[in-house]
Amino acid sequence: MVFNRTAIEETNKKFQQKPEKSVTISQHKKKNHSRSAQSVSLIGFFVIWQVFSSLNAYFDWFNPQFFPSPLIVCRTTWGYIQDGTLISSISASVIRVLSGFVLGTIVGVFLGIIMARSKMLNDLINPVLNMLGPIPVYAFLPIFMIWFGISEVSKITLIAYATFLPVLTYTMDGIKNVNPTWIRSAMSLGANEWQIFNKVILRAALPNVFIGMRISLALAFGALIVAEMMGSSEGLGFIIVNARNWFKLDDMFMSCILIGLLYTLFNYILILFEKILFRWKKDGLQSAIER
Protein backbone atom coordinates (compact mmCIF):
# COMPACT_ATOMS: atom_id res chain seq x y z
CA MET A 1 0.00 0.00 0.00
CA VAL A 2 2.71 2.37 0.95
CA PHE A 3 4.67 2.03 -2.23
CA ASN A 4 1.52 2.14 -4.11
CA ARG A 5 0.64 5.61 -3.06
CA THR A 6 3.79 6.97 -4.59
CA ALA A 7 2.99 5.11 -7.75
CA ILE A 8 -0.43 6.70 -7.95
CA GLU A 9 1.00 10.12 -7.31
CA GLU A 10 3.40 9.52 -10.12
CA THR A 11 0.67 8.72 -12.61
CA ASN A 12 -1.25 11.72 -11.45
CA LYS A 13 1.74 13.83 -12.24
CA LYS A 14 2.16 12.19 -15.60
CA PHE A 15 -1.45 12.65 -16.54
CA GLN A 16 -1.39 16.27 -15.64
CA GLN A 17 1.10 17.44 -18.21
CA LYS A 18 -0.45 20.41 -19.88
CA PRO A 19 -0.03 21.08 -23.53
CA GLU A 20 -0.08 24.89 -23.42
CA LYS A 21 2.97 26.37 -25.00
CA SER A 22 3.43 29.29 -22.64
CA VAL A 23 3.91 27.12 -19.61
CA THR A 24 5.89 24.41 -21.33
CA ILE A 25 9.30 26.03 -20.82
CA SER A 26 9.01 26.66 -17.14
CA GLN A 27 7.43 23.27 -16.68
CA HIS A 28 10.17 21.61 -18.61
CA LYS A 29 12.70 23.26 -16.36
CA LYS A 30 10.78 22.20 -13.31
CA LYS A 31 10.57 18.64 -14.57
CA ASN A 32 14.31 18.50 -15.21
CA HIS A 33 14.87 19.92 -11.81
CA SER A 34 12.75 17.32 -10.10
CA ARG A 35 14.30 14.54 -12.16
CA SER A 36 17.82 15.50 -11.11
CA ALA A 37 16.69 15.81 -7.51
CA GLN A 38 15.27 12.30 -7.75
CA SER A 39 18.49 10.83 -9.12
CA VAL A 40 20.52 12.68 -6.51
CA SER A 41 18.34 11.07 -3.87
CA LEU A 42 18.94 7.56 -5.24
CA ILE A 43 22.67 8.00 -5.80
CA GLY A 44 23.01 9.67 -2.40
CA PHE A 45 21.32 6.70 -0.78
CA PHE A 46 23.89 4.28 -2.16
CA VAL A 47 26.81 6.61 -1.47
CA ILE A 48 25.83 7.08 2.16
CA TRP A 49 25.29 3.36 2.52
CA GLN A 50 28.72 2.65 1.01
CA VAL A 51 30.47 5.29 3.13
CA PHE A 52 28.83 4.08 6.31
CA SER A 53 29.70 0.42 5.79
CA SER A 54 33.27 1.34 4.81
CA LEU A 55 33.63 3.41 7.97
CA ASN A 56 32.22 0.52 9.94
CA ALA A 57 34.68 -1.87 8.32
CA TYR A 58 37.51 0.49 9.23
CA PHE A 59 36.57 1.40 12.82
CA ASP A 60 34.90 -1.91 13.55
CA TRP A 61 31.88 -0.48 15.39
CA PHE A 62 30.09 -3.78 14.91
CA ASN A 63 30.66 -6.89 12.87
CA PRO A 64 30.92 -5.61 9.28
CA GLN A 65 29.33 -8.82 8.04
CA PHE A 66 26.02 -7.56 9.44
CA PHE A 67 26.02 -4.51 7.21
CA PRO A 68 27.53 -5.28 3.81
CA SER A 69 28.36 -2.39 1.51
CA PRO A 70 26.71 -1.97 -1.90
CA LEU A 71 29.94 -3.08 -3.54
CA ILE A 72 29.89 -6.35 -1.65
CA VAL A 73 26.23 -6.83 -2.57
CA CYS A 74 27.19 -6.24 -6.21
CA ARG A 75 29.94 -8.79 -5.96
CA THR A 76 27.53 -11.32 -4.47
CA THR A 77 25.06 -10.60 -7.24
CA TRP A 78 27.77 -11.20 -9.80
CA GLY A 79 28.42 -14.57 -8.22
CA TYR A 80 24.74 -15.44 -8.50
CA ILE A 81 24.74 -14.37 -12.12
CA GLN A 82 27.76 -16.53 -12.88
CA ASP A 83 26.42 -19.73 -11.42
CA GLY A 84 23.01 -19.13 -13.03
CA THR A 85 20.98 -19.05 -9.84
CA LEU A 86 20.04 -15.41 -10.24
CA ILE A 87 18.19 -15.93 -13.50
CA SER A 88 16.47 -19.09 -12.29
CA SER A 89 15.46 -17.44 -9.00
CA ILE A 90 14.09 -14.34 -10.66
CA SER A 91 12.20 -16.29 -13.31
CA ALA A 92 10.71 -18.60 -10.69
CA SER A 93 9.47 -15.60 -8.71
CA VAL A 94 8.23 -13.73 -11.76
CA ILE A 95 6.28 -16.72 -13.05
CA ARG A 96 4.64 -17.18 -9.65
CA VAL A 97 3.71 -13.58 -9.10
CA LEU A 98 2.48 -13.13 -12.67
CA SER A 99 0.29 -16.21 -12.74
CA GLY A 100 -1.13 -15.43 -9.30
CA PHE A 101 -1.72 -11.81 -10.16
CA VAL A 102 -3.39 -12.53 -13.48
CA LEU A 103 -5.56 -15.25 -12.00
CA GLY A 104 -6.57 -13.06 -9.07
CA THR A 105 -7.36 -10.13 -11.35
CA ILE A 106 -9.54 -12.25 -13.64
CA VAL A 107 -11.48 -13.72 -10.75
CA GLY A 108 -11.76 -10.32 -9.05
CA VAL A 109 -13.07 -8.53 -12.14
CA PHE A 110 -15.45 -11.34 -12.96
CA LEU A 111 -16.90 -11.55 -9.45
CA GLY A 112 -16.98 -7.76 -9.19
CA ILE A 113 -19.08 -7.53 -12.34
CA ILE A 114 -21.47 -10.22 -11.17
CA MET A 115 -21.83 -8.72 -7.72
CA ALA A 116 -22.39 -5.23 -9.05
CA ARG A 117 -25.09 -6.52 -11.39
CA SER A 118 -26.97 -8.79 -9.05
CA LYS A 119 -28.21 -7.46 -5.76
CA MET A 120 -28.92 -11.02 -4.62
CA LEU A 121 -25.41 -12.32 -5.21
CA ASN A 122 -23.97 -9.20 -3.63
CA ASP A 123 -26.01 -9.84 -0.50
CA LEU A 124 -24.93 -13.45 -0.48
CA ILE A 125 -21.20 -12.96 -1.08
CA ASN A 126 -20.45 -9.64 0.56
CA PRO A 127 -20.81 -10.64 4.23
CA VAL A 128 -18.40 -13.53 3.73
CA LEU A 129 -15.88 -11.29 2.04
CA ASN A 130 -16.26 -8.70 4.77
CA MET A 131 -15.42 -11.37 7.30
CA LEU A 132 -12.50 -12.89 5.40
CA GLY A 133 -11.13 -9.60 4.06
CA PRO A 134 -9.44 -8.32 7.23
CA ILE A 135 -7.59 -11.60 7.85
CA PRO A 136 -4.00 -11.17 6.65
CA VAL A 137 -3.56 -13.36 3.60
CA TYR A 138 -0.35 -14.79 5.06
CA ALA A 139 -2.38 -16.48 7.76
CA PHE A 140 -3.89 -18.70 5.07
CA LEU A 141 -0.59 -19.93 3.71
CA PRO A 142 -0.16 -22.94 6.05
CA ILE A 143 -3.74 -23.95 5.26
CA PHE A 144 -3.15 -23.67 1.54
CA MET A 145 0.06 -25.66 1.95
CA ILE A 146 -1.78 -28.49 3.60
CA TRP A 147 -4.55 -28.37 1.03
CA PHE A 148 -2.46 -28.02 -2.09
CA GLY A 149 0.89 -29.32 -0.86
CA ILE A 150 4.21 -27.46 -0.87
CA SER A 151 3.79 -26.85 -4.54
CA GLU A 152 3.39 -24.04 -7.01
CA VAL A 153 -0.37 -24.34 -6.60
CA SER A 154 -0.39 -23.26 -2.98
CA LYS A 155 1.88 -20.28 -3.70
CA ILE A 156 -0.05 -19.14 -6.74
CA THR A 157 -3.32 -19.55 -4.87
CA LEU A 158 -2.05 -17.34 -2.07
CA ILE A 159 -0.90 -14.65 -4.49
CA ALA A 160 -4.16 -14.85 -6.40
CA TYR A 161 -6.13 -14.56 -3.18
CA ALA A 162 -4.12 -11.50 -2.13
CA THR A 163 -4.76 -9.92 -5.53
CA PHE A 164 -8.40 -10.67 -5.91
CA LEU A 165 -9.98 -8.75 -3.05
CA PRO A 166 -8.88 -5.19 -3.93
CA VAL A 167 -9.60 -5.81 -7.61
CA LEU A 168 -13.07 -7.02 -6.75
CA THR A 169 -13.80 -4.05 -4.49
CA TYR A 170 -12.59 -1.48 -6.97
CA THR A 171 -14.36 -3.11 -9.89
CA MET A 172 -17.65 -3.08 -8.02
CA ASP A 173 -17.11 0.47 -6.96
CA GLY A 174 -16.36 1.54 -10.52
CA ILE A 175 -19.45 -0.13 -11.89
CA LYS A 176 -21.71 1.30 -9.21
CA ASN A 177 -20.43 4.83 -9.71
CA VAL A 178 -20.95 5.08 -13.44
CA ASN A 179 -22.51 8.43 -14.26
CA PRO A 180 -26.23 7.66 -14.80
CA THR A 181 -26.57 10.20 -17.60
CA TRP A 182 -24.09 8.16 -19.63
CA ILE A 183 -26.41 5.21 -19.28
CA ARG A 184 -29.41 7.36 -20.13
CA SER A 185 -27.76 8.77 -23.19
CA ALA A 186 -26.80 5.31 -24.38
CA MET A 187 -30.41 4.21 -23.88
CA SER A 188 -31.77 7.13 -25.85
CA LEU A 189 -29.32 6.28 -28.64
CA GLY A 190 -30.92 2.87 -28.88
CA ALA A 191 -28.41 0.72 -27.01
CA ASN A 192 -29.70 -2.53 -25.55
CA GLU A 193 -28.75 -3.82 -22.13
CA TRP A 194 -25.69 -5.73 -23.29
CA GLN A 195 -24.44 -2.78 -25.36
CA ILE A 196 -24.88 -0.43 -22.42
CA PHE A 197 -22.93 -2.79 -20.23
CA ASN A 198 -20.20 -3.46 -22.74
CA LYS A 199 -19.73 -0.02 -24.23
CA VAL A 200 -20.57 2.23 -21.32
CA ILE A 201 -20.43 0.60 -17.90
CA LEU A 202 -17.32 -1.48 -18.44
CA ARG A 203 -15.50 1.32 -20.18
CA ALA A 204 -16.35 3.72 -17.39
CA ALA A 205 -15.29 1.26 -14.69
CA LEU A 206 -12.01 0.24 -16.29
CA PRO A 207 -9.86 2.99 -14.71
CA ASN A 208 -11.09 1.81 -11.33
CA VAL A 209 -10.14 -1.77 -12.13
CA PHE A 210 -6.63 -0.55 -12.77
CA ILE A 211 -6.46 1.23 -9.44
CA GLY A 212 -7.44 -2.04 -7.80
CA MET A 213 -4.77 -3.85 -9.79
CA ARG A 214 -2.06 -1.47 -8.69
CA ILE A 215 -3.00 -1.80 -5.06
CA SER A 216 -3.07 -5.56 -5.52
CA LEU A 217 0.35 -5.61 -7.10
CA ALA A 218 2.04 -4.62 -3.84
CA LEU A 219 -0.01 -7.21 -1.95
CA ALA A 220 0.82 -9.86 -4.54
CA PHE A 221 4.52 -9.23 -4.04
CA GLY A 222 4.11 -9.52 -0.29
CA ALA A 223 2.33 -12.83 -0.72
CA LEU A 224 4.99 -14.04 -3.14
CA ILE A 225 7.87 -13.44 -0.75
CA VAL A 226 6.10 -14.94 2.23
CA ALA A 227 5.11 -18.00 0.22
CA GLU A 228 8.64 -18.44 -1.01
CA MET A 229 10.07 -18.02 2.45
CA MET A 230 7.82 -20.66 3.92
CA GLY A 231 8.19 -23.48 1.53
CA SER A 232 10.15 -23.43 -1.66
CA SER A 233 13.52 -24.30 -3.02
CA GLU A 234 14.04 -21.37 -5.35
CA GLY A 235 13.00 -17.80 -5.82
CA LEU A 236 13.88 -14.48 -4.24
CA GLY A 237 12.10 -15.26 -0.99
CA PHE A 238 13.95 -18.54 -0.76
CA ILE A 239 17.29 -16.74 -1.13
CA ILE A 240 16.45 -14.67 1.95
CA VAL A 241 15.57 -17.62 4.24
CA ASN A 242 18.39 -19.69 2.92
CA ALA A 243 20.88 -16.88 3.49
CA ARG A 244 19.61 -16.47 7.02
CA ASN A 245 20.83 -19.97 7.87
CA TRP A 246 24.37 -19.02 6.76
CA PHE A 247 24.46 -15.42 8.04
CA LYS A 248 24.87 -14.22 4.49
CA LEU A 249 23.50 -10.72 4.83
CA ASP A 250 24.80 -9.63 1.45
CA ASP A 251 22.53 -12.25 -0.17
CA MET A 252 19.56 -10.92 1.77
CA PHE A 253 20.31 -7.37 0.75
CA MET A 254 20.59 -8.43 -2.86
CA SER A 255 17.29 -10.24 -2.74
CA CYS A 256 15.50 -7.30 -1.12
CA ILE A 257 16.81 -4.89 -3.71
CA LEU A 258 15.80 -7.22 -6.53
CA ILE A 259 12.28 -7.47 -5.11
CA GLY A 260 12.09 -3.69 -5.05
CA LEU A 261 13.32 -3.45 -8.62
CA LEU A 262 10.90 -6.11 -9.85
CA TYR A 263 7.96 -4.38 -8.19
CA THR A 264 8.97 -1.07 -9.69
CA LEU A 265 9.21 -2.65 -13.13
CA PHE A 266 5.80 -4.30 -12.87
CA ASN A 267 4.22 -1.17 -11.55
CA TYR A 268 5.73 0.80 -14.39
CA ILE A 269 4.29 -1.63 -16.91
CA LEU A 270 0.84 -1.18 -15.37
CA ILE A 271 1.21 2.59 -15.53
CA LEU A 272 2.20 2.27 -19.17
CA PHE A 273 -0.95 0.28 -19.87
CA GLU A 274 -3.03 2.94 -18.17
CA LYS A 275 -1.42 5.64 -20.19
CA ILE A 276 -2.28 3.88 -23.41
CA LEU A 277 -5.79 2.79 -22.39
CA PHE A 278 -6.81 6.04 -20.75
CA ARG A 279 -5.47 8.54 -23.22
CA TRP A 280 -8.86 10.20 -22.99
CA LYS A 281 -8.09 11.20 -19.45
CA LYS A 282 -4.76 12.69 -20.34
CA ASP A 283 -6.57 14.91 -22.76
CA GLY A 284 -8.40 16.53 -19.89
CA LEU A 285 -7.10 19.96 -19.18
CA GLN A 286 -7.54 20.34 -15.48
CA SER A 287 -8.15 17.68 -12.95
CA ALA A 288 -7.49 14.74 -15.29
CA ILE A 289 -8.00 11.91 -12.83
CA GLU A 290 -9.95 11.83 -9.65
CA ARG A 291 -8.86 9.01 -7.50
Binding site: T181, R184, A186, M187, S188, K199, W280, D283, G284, L285
Partner: protein, 251 residues
Protein backbone atom coordinates in the same frame (compact mmCIF):
# COMPACT_ATOMS: atom_id res chain seq x y z
CA UNK B 1 -53.57 13.40 -34.04
CA UNK B 2 -50.75 15.73 -33.26
CA UNK B 3 -47.17 14.57 -33.54
CA UNK B 4 -46.65 14.55 -29.80
CA UNK B 5 -49.64 14.18 -27.52
CA UNK B 6 -49.47 14.36 -23.77
CA UNK B 7 -52.71 13.33 -22.12
CA UNK B 8 -53.54 14.05 -18.45
CA UNK B 9 -50.08 13.21 -17.21
CA UNK B 10 -49.45 12.75 -13.47
CA UNK B 11 -46.15 12.02 -11.82
CA UNK B 12 -45.10 12.04 -8.19
CA UNK B 13 -41.92 10.92 -6.52
CA UNK B 14 -43.73 10.38 -3.27
CA UNK B 15 -44.15 6.68 -2.75
CA UNK B 16 -46.82 7.09 -0.11
CA UNK B 17 -49.15 8.14 -2.93
CA UNK B 18 -50.40 11.16 -1.05
CA UNK B 19 -52.63 13.24 -3.31
CA UNK B 20 -51.56 16.75 -4.16
CA UNK B 21 -47.87 15.91 -3.97
CA UNK B 22 -47.57 15.64 -7.72
CA UNK B 23 -44.49 16.96 -9.46
CA UNK B 24 -46.57 16.98 -12.60
CA UNK B 25 -50.28 17.47 -12.12
CA UNK B 26 -52.60 16.84 -15.04
CA UNK B 27 -50.40 17.93 -17.91
CA UNK B 28 -51.97 18.12 -21.36
CA UNK B 29 -50.42 19.53 -24.50
CA UNK B 30 -49.82 18.80 -28.15
CA UNK B 31 -46.77 19.42 -30.26
CA UNK B 32 -47.16 19.66 -34.04
CA UNK B 33 -44.71 18.13 -36.43
CA UNK B 34 -41.61 20.29 -37.09
CA UNK B 35 -42.65 22.57 -34.27
CA UNK B 36 -40.08 24.16 -31.96
CA UNK B 37 -41.72 23.71 -28.59
CA UNK B 38 -40.37 25.32 -25.43
CA UNK B 39 -41.11 24.40 -21.83
CA UNK B 40 -40.20 27.15 -19.39
CA UNK B 41 -40.30 27.26 -15.64
CA UNK B 42 -38.39 27.84 -12.42
CA UNK B 43 -36.08 25.13 -11.21
CA UNK B 44 -38.09 22.49 -9.42
CA UNK B 45 -41.25 23.13 -11.42
CA UNK B 46 -41.13 19.67 -12.95
CA UNK B 47 -39.79 20.54 -16.37
CA UNK B 48 -36.93 18.06 -16.21
CA UNK B 49 -39.34 15.42 -14.98
CA UNK B 50 -41.51 16.16 -17.99
CA UNK B 51 -38.55 15.69 -20.31
CA UNK B 52 -37.54 12.45 -18.62
CA UNK B 53 -41.07 11.21 -19.13
CA UNK B 54 -41.03 12.21 -22.79
CA UNK B 55 -37.69 10.41 -23.21
CA UNK B 56 -39.08 7.33 -21.49
CA UNK B 57 -36.48 7.32 -18.70
CA UNK B 58 -39.21 7.36 -16.07
CA UNK B 59 -42.81 6.20 -16.11
CA UNK B 60 -45.89 8.34 -15.44
CA UNK B 61 -48.25 7.55 -12.56
CA UNK B 62 -51.20 8.28 -14.79
CA UNK B 63 -51.70 9.46 -18.36
CA UNK B 64 -50.02 8.72 -21.66
CA UNK B 65 -47.50 10.21 -24.01
CA UNK B 66 -47.76 9.49 -27.72
CA UNK B 67 -44.99 10.31 -30.15
CA UNK B 68 -46.03 9.94 -33.78
CA UNK B 69 -48.97 7.82 -32.72
CA UNK B 70 -46.90 5.43 -30.62
CA UNK B 71 -47.13 5.19 -26.86
CA UNK B 72 -43.83 6.02 -25.13
CA UNK B 73 -42.90 3.16 -22.81
CA UNK B 74 -39.13 3.15 -22.70
CA UNK B 75 -36.20 5.11 -24.09
CA UNK B 76 -35.54 4.54 -27.75
CA UNK B 77 -33.60 6.08 -30.58
CA UNK B 78 -36.86 7.70 -31.71
CA UNK B 79 -36.53 10.21 -28.90
CA UNK B 80 -33.09 11.78 -29.11
CA UNK B 81 -31.95 13.56 -25.98
CA UNK B 82 -29.49 16.41 -25.54
CA UNK B 83 -28.43 16.68 -21.91
CA UNK B 84 -27.52 19.79 -19.99
CA UNK B 85 -24.09 18.43 -19.08
CA UNK B 86 -23.76 17.02 -22.63
CA UNK B 87 -23.12 13.48 -21.19
CA UNK B 88 -20.63 12.59 -23.90
CA UNK B 89 -18.73 9.36 -23.37
CA UNK B 90 -15.30 10.58 -22.29
CA UNK B 91 -13.52 7.44 -23.49
CA UNK B 92 -14.68 7.95 -27.07
CA UNK B 93 -13.43 10.75 -29.26
CA UNK B 94 -15.79 13.12 -31.04
CA UNK B 95 -16.47 10.99 -34.07
CA UNK B 96 -16.90 7.79 -32.05
CA UNK B 97 -19.36 9.60 -29.81
CA UNK B 98 -21.43 10.83 -32.74
CA UNK B 99 -21.24 7.46 -34.51
CA UNK B 100 -22.36 5.60 -31.37
CA UNK B 101 -26.07 5.57 -32.27
CA UNK B 102 -25.79 4.55 -35.93
CA UNK B 103 -23.13 1.96 -35.11
CA UNK B 104 -25.38 0.36 -32.53
CA UNK B 105 -28.18 0.33 -35.06
CA UNK B 106 -25.84 -1.67 -37.31
CA UNK B 107 -25.49 1.00 -39.98
CA UNK B 108 -22.48 0.48 -42.20
CA UNK B 109 -22.08 4.15 -42.99
CA UNK B 110 -22.07 5.17 -39.31
CA UNK B 111 -18.88 7.18 -39.69
CA UNK B 112 -20.14 8.95 -42.81
CA UNK B 113 -23.28 9.97 -40.94
CA UNK B 114 -21.14 11.16 -38.07
CA UNK B 115 -18.82 13.14 -40.32
CA UNK B 116 -21.73 14.86 -42.01
CA UNK B 117 -23.24 15.87 -38.66
CA UNK B 118 -19.92 17.02 -37.23
CA UNK B 119 -19.60 19.23 -40.27
CA UNK B 120 -23.12 20.54 -39.76
CA UNK B 121 -22.44 21.59 -36.18
CA UNK B 122 -19.24 23.23 -37.33
CA UNK B 123 -16.70 20.98 -35.64
CA UNK B 124 -14.71 19.81 -38.66
CA UNK B 125 -11.14 19.02 -37.65
CA UNK B 126 -12.10 18.04 -34.11
CA UNK B 127 -13.10 14.46 -34.95
CA UNK B 128 -10.24 12.86 -33.06
CA UNK B 129 -10.44 15.04 -29.95
CA UNK B 130 -11.66 13.63 -26.68
CA UNK B 131 -14.58 15.35 -24.90
CA UNK B 132 -12.40 16.41 -21.98
CA UNK B 133 -10.41 18.68 -24.22
CA UNK B 134 -13.46 20.46 -25.68
CA UNK B 135 -14.99 23.68 -24.39
CA UNK B 136 -18.56 23.64 -23.08
CA UNK B 137 -20.06 25.01 -26.29
CA UNK B 138 -18.14 22.60 -28.46
CA UNK B 139 -19.07 19.63 -26.28
CA UNK B 140 -22.72 20.63 -26.52
CA UNK B 141 -22.51 20.77 -30.32
CA UNK B 142 -21.16 17.23 -30.23
CA UNK B 143 -24.05 16.32 -27.93
CA UNK B 144 -26.52 17.68 -30.47
CA UNK B 145 -24.79 15.93 -33.35
CA UNK B 146 -24.81 12.68 -31.39
CA UNK B 147 -28.53 12.96 -30.67
CA UNK B 148 -29.25 13.69 -34.34
CA UNK B 149 -27.11 10.80 -35.58
CA UNK B 150 -29.72 8.17 -34.74
CA UNK B 151 -32.18 10.21 -36.78
CA UNK B 152 -34.83 10.57 -34.04
CA UNK B 153 -38.40 11.66 -34.75
CA UNK B 154 -38.33 13.92 -31.75
CA UNK B 155 -35.42 15.85 -30.33
CA UNK B 156 -35.59 16.52 -26.60
CA UNK B 157 -33.27 19.17 -25.22
CA UNK B 158 -32.86 19.53 -21.48
CA UNK B 159 -31.49 23.03 -20.86
CA UNK B 160 -28.72 22.38 -23.36
CA UNK B 161 -27.42 25.92 -23.02
CA UNK B 162 -27.77 26.11 -19.26
CA UNK B 163 -24.12 25.41 -18.54
CA UNK B 164 -22.74 27.84 -21.11
CA UNK B 165 -21.60 31.43 -20.71
CA UNK B 166 -23.79 34.23 -22.03
CA UNK B 167 -21.83 34.84 -25.22
CA UNK B 168 -21.65 31.19 -26.20
CA UNK B 169 -25.35 30.83 -25.37
CA UNK B 170 -26.28 33.49 -27.86
CA UNK B 171 -24.23 31.90 -30.59
CA UNK B 172 -25.61 28.46 -29.80
CA UNK B 173 -29.20 29.72 -29.99
CA UNK B 174 -28.72 30.72 -33.59
CA UNK B 175 -26.88 27.49 -34.23
CA UNK B 176 -29.74 25.44 -32.83
CA UNK B 177 -32.28 27.29 -34.96
CA UNK B 178 -30.14 26.68 -38.01
CA UNK B 179 -29.86 22.98 -37.24
CA UNK B 180 -33.60 22.77 -36.57
CA UNK B 181 -34.39 24.35 -39.93
CA UNK B 182 -31.96 22.06 -41.72
CA UNK B 183 -33.10 18.82 -40.14
CA UNK B 184 -36.83 19.66 -39.82
CA UNK B 185 -37.04 17.85 -36.50
CA UNK B 186 -39.73 18.33 -33.92
CA UNK B 187 -38.00 19.84 -30.91
CA UNK B 188 -39.02 20.00 -27.27
CA UNK B 189 -36.69 22.43 -25.58
CA UNK B 190 -36.50 22.94 -21.82
CA UNK B 191 -35.19 26.23 -20.52
CA UNK B 192 -35.44 28.65 -17.65
CA UNK B 193 -34.58 31.66 -19.76
CA UNK B 194 -37.54 33.73 -20.98
CA UNK B 195 -35.53 35.38 -23.73
CA UNK B 196 -34.36 32.05 -24.97
CA UNK B 197 -37.89 30.71 -25.13
CA UNK B 198 -39.22 33.74 -27.02
CA UNK B 199 -36.26 33.73 -29.36
CA UNK B 200 -36.49 30.06 -30.25
CA UNK B 201 -40.01 28.77 -29.86
CA UNK B 202 -43.05 28.38 -32.07
CA UNK B 203 -44.98 27.62 -28.93
CA UNK B 204 -44.19 28.05 -25.26
CA UNK B 205 -45.73 26.44 -22.23
CA UNK B 206 -45.11 27.83 -18.76
CA UNK B 207 -44.85 25.17 -16.10
CA UNK B 208 -45.36 26.10 -12.49
CA UNK B 209 -45.86 23.84 -9.49
CA UNK B 210 -46.47 20.94 -11.80
CA UNK B 211 -49.21 22.65 -13.80
CA UNK B 212 -49.33 24.41 -17.12
CA UNK B 213 -50.10 28.08 -16.55
CA UNK B 214 -49.80 29.26 -20.10
CA UNK B 215 -49.73 27.69 -23.54
CA UNK B 216 -48.81 30.43 -25.96
CA UNK B 217 -48.00 30.47 -29.65
CA UNK B 218 -45.20 32.88 -30.53
CA UNK B 219 -46.07 34.47 -33.83
CA UNK B 220 -43.00 36.30 -34.99
CA UNK B 221 -40.91 36.19 -38.10
CA UNK B 222 -37.45 34.68 -37.81
CA UNK B 223 -34.77 35.89 -37.25
CA UNK B 224 -36.38 37.55 -34.25
CA UNK B 225 -35.21 40.93 -33.07
CA UNK B 226 -34.64 40.88 -29.33
CA UNK B 227 -35.38 44.60 -29.01
CA UNK B 228 -38.54 44.70 -31.10
CA UNK B 229 -41.86 45.61 -29.45
CA UNK B 230 -43.35 42.26 -30.25
CA UNK B 231 -40.47 40.43 -28.61
CA UNK B 232 -40.85 42.56 -25.48
CA UNK B 233 -44.59 41.95 -25.45
CA UNK B 234 -44.07 38.20 -25.35
CA UNK B 235 -41.28 38.53 -22.80
CA UNK B 236 -43.52 40.56 -20.51
CA UNK B 237 -46.36 38.12 -20.91
CA UNK B 238 -44.18 35.21 -19.86
CA UNK B 239 -42.63 37.18 -17.03
CA UNK B 240 -46.05 38.00 -15.69
CA UNK B 241 -47.11 34.37 -15.62
CA UNK B 242 -43.82 33.24 -14.14
CA UNK B 243 -43.55 35.80 -11.38
CA UNK B 244 -47.13 36.80 -10.41
CA UNK B 245 -47.65 33.59 -8.61
CA UNK B 246 -50.32 34.35 -6.00
CA UNK B 247 -52.84 35.89 -8.29
CA UNK B 248 -52.78 33.05 -10.79
CA UNK B 249 -52.84 30.31 -8.23
CA UNK B 250 -56.03 31.81 -6.77
CA UNK B 251 -57.59 31.79 -10.18
Amino acid sequence: MAFVEVNSLFKSYDDSGFQGKYVLNDINFKVEENEFFCVIGHSGCGKSTLLNLLAGFIKPDKGEIYVNGKLVKKPSSQQGVVFQDHALFPWYNVIENVAFGPKIAGKKDAYDIALRLIKMVGLEGYEKKFPNSLSGGMAQRVGIARALASNPELLLMDEPLGALDAMTREKMRMEILKIWKQTKKTVVFITHSIAEAVYLADRVIVLKDGKIFLNQKIEMERPRQIHSDQFLKYTKMLEKVLFDSEKLIVE
